[in-house]
């Protein structure tokens, strides 16, 4: 990583390298001194979440005022505050800030659908969810194998399950 010059002071060698994952990939290179002044932590054990939150909050584009004003009735968190802190206030925020959060989640993970483990106490829909995840994986496989007949059948099953799960979670 040697050789890059700090983009702030343009004098010292950049030793702090940050890749912005939100809002398109962009790399930043700072020297230790300028990074410290900018508030970028250079300590080891650096927390990816911390860096990301500074990037989520640091986006230059205007925040939609309507979104910014959204407030969680359970924890009192506002979307504006989330944008500046990068941390949510309670699990319910994911529902309340859905419109603002899902695009951010999509940018970070390239997905907005869980496909992993389901906790044993997740309620009666848990089994259905596991089934749904399997079906989705099968669908992907069927599409890549160009097995369109099977894919169509799988799609039907998936939409039935999605409707059932959707009505349960509301």
């Amino acid at each position: 990583m040697a050789g890059k010059i700090c983009e702030i002071c343009k004098k010292r060698i950049a030793t702090v390298h940050i890749t912005n994952l939100v809002g398109g990939k962009k790399e930043h290179h700072f020297c230790e001194q300028c990074a410290k002044e900018k508030g970028v932590s250079t300590t080891p054990n650096i927390d990816i979440g911390q860096v990301l939150s500074s990037l989520i909050g640091g986006k230059t584009e205007e925040i939609d005022e309507k979104l910014a004003a959204l407030k969680c009735p359970r924890c009192g968190m506002t979307f504006r505050r989330f944008k500046s802190k990068g941390r949510l206030g309670c699990p319910h925020d994911y529902e309340v800030f859905k419109d603002g959060l899902l695009p951010i989640i999509e940018q970070i993970h390239h997905s907005t659908q869980h496909a992993g483990k389901v906790p044993s106490q997740a309620g009666p829909s848990a089994a259905r969810l596991s089934a749904l995840i399997k079906l989705r994986q099968n669908l992907q496989n069927a599409v890549s194998a160009e097995n369109y007949e099977e894919a169509a059948q799988l799609r039907d099953k998936i939409s039935v399950l999605e409707r059932e799960l959707g009505s349960e979670s509301e």
């Binding site: 802190k85 699990p91 869980h114 496909a115 906790p119 997740a122 979670s169």
Partner: protein, 350 residues
């Protein structure tokens, strides 16, 4: 837990055993979980946080996750103890520096640890020596299921396990390996590694001395994406690049031996000489020489040093471990003195 118990009785991940352990020092799985119906830690009132800490301590200690689990109240621990736990990778800097009721539960051999009230209510970690990601995931999965019988997790069918930061949502999983890559550093190929890993959505971070030119050549590789893939897929995507990286590192070492054997030998033996002679040495300097000596041992150049004792020195020379060994608080200059003495005693004075 005392520093002088040594890694043999303490941290299993320091032992340097397990597959490909000359390059892959350790493997680690971390799961982030929160309790349903509680705000995340940042929004909790002090009494609520204390109530949750008590509930989770009981839940974790009662879940029989590992033999001889013990719970440390971090809010009651002194600075030295907190730094010590950090150096052993049992707690994060964030947990050490946070406020309010919080703690960590540590299991036998320090393979399993559970942080309470860090950024998320629960941070479960499994860490093994060597290249053992599958074993780590299996153990983490088992512990998570046991704990999940006692605690109702915040979970949504759409977004999975709900976490305080959206970067962890979904599986809440971070898988990582710690790699010793002196060959790639010396042949100036780390930039290529960084670029290739970024394409695969994997993060590479320098361990101990990040952001400095000189480093210990230790790097941590981990997944960035936690949503949209199953835990097995995430673990597999990290796991599958490691053999290539190992090959890459071995090729770099071979190249160095074929094209600059004298230069490598010179570096290794100078490092060995410095470690056995220095009267005062900083943590950073010790890391650099220990890394170079470790390469020399793994290349068969230095035969009278065991890799175990080097791995052990990597951690015993850290500030809090040194102070625990000395049994008292030491200022930086005194630490540099104690560090040099410890290393000379362990490696044998010239």
């Amino acid at each position: 837990m005392k520093a002088n118990e040594g890694p043999g009785n303490g941290a299993e991940w320091l032992r340097g055993t397990g597959g490909e352990a000359d390059i892959v020092l350790s493997s680690r799985i971390r799961l982030a979980r929160n309790v349903a119906d509680f705000p995340f830690v940042v929004r909790m009132k002090a009494e609520q946080q204390a109530e949750l800490a008590r509930f989770l301590e009981q839940g974790i200690m009662g879940a029989d996750l590992a033999p001889n689990m013990r719970y440390v109240d971090i809010d009651e621990a002194d600075e030295l103890e907190k730094l010590y736990l950090q150096e052993r990778q049992l707690i994060s800097r964030e947990l050490a520096d946070a406020k309010g009721k919080r703690g960590v539960s540590v299991g036998d051999m320090e393979r399993i640890s559970v942080m309470v009230n860090e950024e998320d209510h629960i941070r479960l970690q499994v860490i093994h020596s060597g290249f053992e990601l599958d074993e780590c995931w299996a153990a983490a999965d088992r512990c998570d299921s046991l704990l999940g019988e006692r605690v109702r997790y915040a979970f949504s069918p759409r977004l999975g396990y709900l976490t305080a930061c959206p970067t962890n949502v979904g599986t809440g999983l971070r898988a990582s390996v710690m790699l010793h890559l002196p060959g790639l550093v010396m042949t100036k190929q780390m930039k290529k590694v960084f670029a290739a890993m970024a394409k695969l959505n994997l993060a590479v971070r320098g361990m101990y001395g990040e952001g400095t030119e000189a480093s210990s050549d230790l790097y941590q590789l981990s997944n960035q994406v936690s949503l949209g893939k199953s835990e097995e897929e995430i673990v597999h995507s990290l796991k599958s690049v490691i053999p290539q990286l190992i090959k890459f590192e071995r090729n770099a070492r071979k190249y160095l031996l074929e094209h600059g054997r004298v230069a490598v030998e010179d570096r290794v033996w100078r490092a060995y000489g410095m470690l056995r002679s220095a009267r005062t040495i900083s943590s950073q300097e010790a890391m650099i020489y220990l890394s170079q000596l470790r390469l020399g041992v793994n290349l068969g150049m230095v035969k009278d040093v065991h890799i175990d004792s080097l791995n052990e020195l990597f951690i015993l020379t850290q500030p809090a471990h040194l102070q625990k060994l000395e049994g008292k608080k030491l200022e930086e200059d005194k630490r540099d003195l104690a560090r040099a003495t410890l290393i000379r005693n362990r490696l044998g004075e010239v």
